[in-house]
């Protein structure tokens, strides 16, 4: 098949929202203020686990400037029901109890009450005046104590899903199992078996913009909500359910969003702001502090993973087994299922069994984080694979190539892969000069791979043709990473006009049809598909207009390079009609031209990546520095290569931070000891080298241009890529993240 020729796809135009973002004009969550606006603040639990005996709000209402105080008593007490559209498992009852605690507080920082006042200072004073009588309960802060017999129980009504019998309250929310074949038989056939246990700590997405919202409720009960979110329709749905409102009474207008990485796919402040604005009749603004973001939003799970892998002397995998234990936080729903499904997905395995456990404990409820659950599972799997390759004396890329999933391989979670590019990423890595470059003293090189499903889901888009033949692309997908330009480029390609003549905007819940979250690496794939269909709808209408003018059958009209071409005929036939003329004359030929599409995108092409990491280890201080990093990823088709590279570079950097430094630290009472960027140490510019993003294009058969999601996969391999490099540099296999200097030093010193 010859490569399709594109005019716009694959080029690097400047994004339409770019100028506003480099000049400070772009309006983010906290940037909106309205006349008469009140400031809302949240009272948070000072205990990790306690029963709320009573809350006395009257003293707060007496504070000058305070207009309203709300608690869980002001919300309907919801029955348990799974929420749709979420990236991680969410239950409306839990969600309601997370935004305002009812009966019990379940983590340090759990919201207990909210106030609205004429100034932030008055709101702070009101918080101090609220009297909460707590009966402090013993807290469970790690997986072992949560699962120990006689452990303090978070939810008296929680029973283990997926386990027969029982009936006693438990902190084990679910047990899941996937796999096929007979792993014992597989291990018996192995010449080498590696079994190891790995642990990772709770980490945060670390978006730089704290959660922020402004809500305004009119006298008729209609609320308008401005907020930074990955999903305005999901915010609308969740707020409506938590507050018992119809969807038509809430309009959610997404602001620009300052990072999310999965962390802005649910609600925290939004329902409180709506309720406070309803109570006061005034707009209410709420902005989290950085400390609140760390203490009370949705980081990802700490984990304990046991993995066992067997292979023959020739390097063929014979079996893989794993037990995954994931922290869910205060409410059920860790990403353990996705972890189990992705863990061995890059490999051909006849015998595979993975068991997963979802455990509640007194920490914030976890949220989605870039390929939820997968990075930690890949850390375990890819470290163990590295160990197997080492024992076999095989090159780690050759070993993976010998077992790599291809088109037709049955994934451990069931379906057969269609066309995928995993092998291509491995081959590209092997060929790349990085892989054969000499290493300096104290340096080591590691390789690791990663997989993410990518998701499709629902998207709506419109393409409005302007009277001068320029166009506007309207979608309901907030832009976190440059998706406006990718969507505009696909429309430009279809319409056959220059990208400068297409603009893309993000609409709100009352101006575009339903669209799922900007998450799951789905926007350029699924919303892109809707944009392509909407643009084709415009082309169809333009062709019909031209056909009517020419009095020919529309099927005989061809659309090429922004022009309708008349049927092939004798000389002297009509001249082609350009998009400008057709747009200008639209009023006389049938009215405005708007293309629309709403769809559920199915069968997204999965993403595979191979990363090579070089580290340098300082044996005096234990500091690990990444000195070179190259990431190879099958991106299907890069619409705008610059923003695809950016996703890969950013994902790799987040994974490097996770591997080397990031972790929540807890004191014995369950308080977060490092709720700020100084002590929650994310990578800074001087920590990192350039990150070479190599785009491998194996088009996905399920998208008109072959697009695969790219955003999440790059966060999967780095944990093991770094750890494998550190092993190569030091000879020590680190199984407990992060590889922070004290931990590295201790391990190296203990080996002498």
């Amino acid at each position: 098949m010859s490569e399709p020729r594109y005019k716009c796809i694959g080029t690097r135009p400047i994004r339409p929202d770019g100028v506003d973002k480099v000049t400070g004009r772009a309006s983010f969550g906290a940037d909106l203020s309205l006349p008469g606006m009140l400031h809302g603040r949240v009272l948070r639990s000072p205990h990790a686990h306690a029963r709320i005996r009573s809350i006395e709000v009257e003293p707060a209402l007496a504070v000058e400037g305070v207009k309203a105080v709300i608690t869980a008593a002001d919300l309907p007490d919801l029955a348990s029901q799974a929420a749709q559209g979420a990236e991680t498992q969410t239950d409306f009852r839990d969600l309601s109890r997370n935004v305002l605690a009812r009966d019990k507080v379940l983590y340090h920082g759990h919201a207990v009450a909210a106030v609205a006042a004429t100034s932030r200072t008055a709101a702070e004073r009101a918080l101090a005046a609220i009297r909460v009588d707590y009966e402090v309960l013993p807290a469970v802060l790690d997986l072992d104590s949560a699962l120990a017999p006689g452990a303090p129980i978070l939810h008296e009504d929680l029973r283990t899903r997926g386990l027969a019998g029982g009936g006693a309250p438990t902190n084990l929310a679910a047990r899941i199992e996937i796999g096929r074949g007979d792993v014992e038989k597989g291990f018996a056939e192995a010449d080498v078996v590696v079994e190891r246990e790995f642990t990772t700590r709770m980490v945060h997405q670390g978006y730089i913009e704290p959660h922020a919202v402004v809500a305004r409720t009119a006298e008729d009960g209609h609320s308008v909500v401005w907020c930074c979110t990955q999903g305005p329709f999901v915010v609308r749905a969740y707020c409506a359910r938590i507050l018992g409102m119809d969807l038509s009474r809430i309009r959610v207008i997404p602001s620009e969003i300052g990072g999310g990485f999965g962390g802005k796919t649910t609600v925290y402040l939004e329902p409180l702001a709506i309720l406070l604005s309803r109570r006061t009749g005034r707009p209410v603004k709420m902005v989290m502090t950085r400390e609140e973001v760390f203490r009370a939003t949705g980081p990802t799970s700490g984990t304990r993973i046991r993995v066992k892998i067997g292979a023959t002397a020739k390097g063929k995998l014979t079996a893989a087994a794993a037990t995954l234990v994931y922290e869910a936080g205060a409410f059920k729903g860790s990403p353990v299922t996705a972890a189990a499904m992705t863990m061995f997905a890059p490999y051909r395995l006849e015998q595979v069994r993975i068991e997963g456990f979802d455990v509640v404990l007194n920490k914030p409820k976890v949220g989605a984080y870039r390929a939820p659950g997968s990075a930690m599972a890949a850390f375990a799997a890819e470290s163990a694979l590295d160990e197997v390759a080492l024992r076999l004396g095989m090159d780690p890329i050759d070993f993976r190539l010998a077992n790599a999933a291809r088109e037709g391989t049955e994934a451990p979670y069931g379906p057969k892969f269609r066309r995928i590019g995993f092998v291509e990423t491995l081959e590209a890595a092997k060929r790349h000069p990085h892989y054969s470059a000499p290493l300096g003293p104290g340096q080591g090189r590691g390789v690791a791979c990663g997989f993410w499903f990518n998701v499709g889901l629902q998207s709506s888009a419109a393409v409005n043709l302007n009277e001068d033949g320029t166009a506007v692309v309207v979608s309901g997908s907030p832009d976190l990473s440059g998706t406006r330009i990718s969507l505009a480029m696909m429309a430009a390609e279809e319409l056959g006009i220059p990208i400068e003549r297409v603009r893309a905007v993000v609409a709100d819940t009352e101006t575009i049809g339903y669209s799922d979250l900007s998450a799951g690496s789905r926007v350029t794939f699924a919303t892109g598909m809707a944009v392509v269909e909407a643009a084709r709808d415009v082309v169809r209408q333009l062709s019909e207009r031209a056909a009517a003018i020419w009095r020919v059958d529309p099927r005989e009209v061809r659309w090429e390079e922004g022009r309708a071409l008349p049927p092939q005929g004798a000389a002297g036939g009509p001249e082609p009609l350009g998009i400008e003329e057709l747009a200008r004359d639209a009023a006389r030929t049938g009215g405005p031209i708007v293309g629309r599409a709403s769809l559920t995108a199915r069968a997204p092409g999965p993403g595979f990546a191979t990363h090579i990491c070089d580290v340098s280890v300082d044996r005096e201080t234990g500091r690990v520095s990444v000195v070179r990093y190259t990431a190879f990823q099958d991106v299907g088709r890069a619409i705008h290569p610059g923003y695809v590279e950016g996703q890969i570079q950013g994902g790799a950097a987040q994974g490097i931070g996770w591997a080397l430094n990031e972790e929540y630290l807890w004191d014995s009472s369950g308080a977060v000891e490092n709720p700020g960027f100084l002590d929650y140490r994310m990578p800074i510019a001087s920590d990192l080298p350039m990150i070479d993003a190599q785009l491998i294009e194996v088009p996905s058969p399920t998208h008109p241009y072959g697009v695969r999601g790219v955003g999440e996969t790059p966060n999967v391999p780095p944990l093991a890529a770094v750890a494998n490099a550190v092993r190569a540099a030091t000879g020590h296999r680190f199984t407990d993240l992060p590889l922070s200097p004290p931990r590295v030093l201790e391990a190296l010193d203990s080996e002498g």
Partner: protein, 159 residues
């Protein structure tokens, strides 16, 4: 609490305002002057999103009191571009795709400007150190560093 009268210069324009004694320069810029291009990521001087140039020196505006604007001059992201023309740093951030979500971008551009003002020939390492006070979670810094190096070259050519 009694407010203090403060007179200073913001992006070349004289300003006069009444400032609460505990208000930070960041709050004054955003809430009093409506200059919301300067962002708050932490309010504790750890993320650099609120970077501004105060009398020629790069500072986190969340760590400066509003009253300290008295008699001094501050440049914010809104004052970087000339009318109808982007500063080379802004142009190169666009050309090098150095913006993803954009929340840290104003701070990065202001910090990069402060760096290039004092060092027109920075090495990659000097750029990385010059931006070490500015967290960006989206880009991994690769394209940001390239944009700053390209802008530096551009500015040297113009000089």
């Amino acid at each position: 609490m009694a407010k203090t009268r403060v007179r200073g210069t913001v992006n070349g324009e004289p300003v006069e305002l009444l400032c609460e004694p505990q208000a930070t320069l960041l709050e004054v810029l955003r809430d009093e002057l409506g200059l919301t291009g300067t962002k708050e990521g932490c309010a504790t001087g750890e993320c650099g999103a609120c970077s501004v140039i105060l009398d020629g020196r790069l500072v986190c505006s969340c760590l400066v009191l509003g009253v300290e604007l008295e008699g001094r001059s501050v440049q914010t992201i809104e004052g970087i571009a000339a009318a109808e023309r982007l500063h080379p740093l802004q142009q190169k951030f666009l050309e090098h795709e150095a913006v993803q979500c954009g929340i840290c971008t104003p701070g990065l551009i202001v910090a990069a400007k402060a760096l290039l003002d004092r060092n027109p020939h920075p090495s990659e390492e000097e750029v990385r150190l010059g931006l070490a006070g500015n967290l960006c979670r989206c880009t991994g810094y690769d394209k940001v560093v390239r944009a700053v190096l390209a802008a530096a070259a551009d500015l040297r050519e113009q000089a």
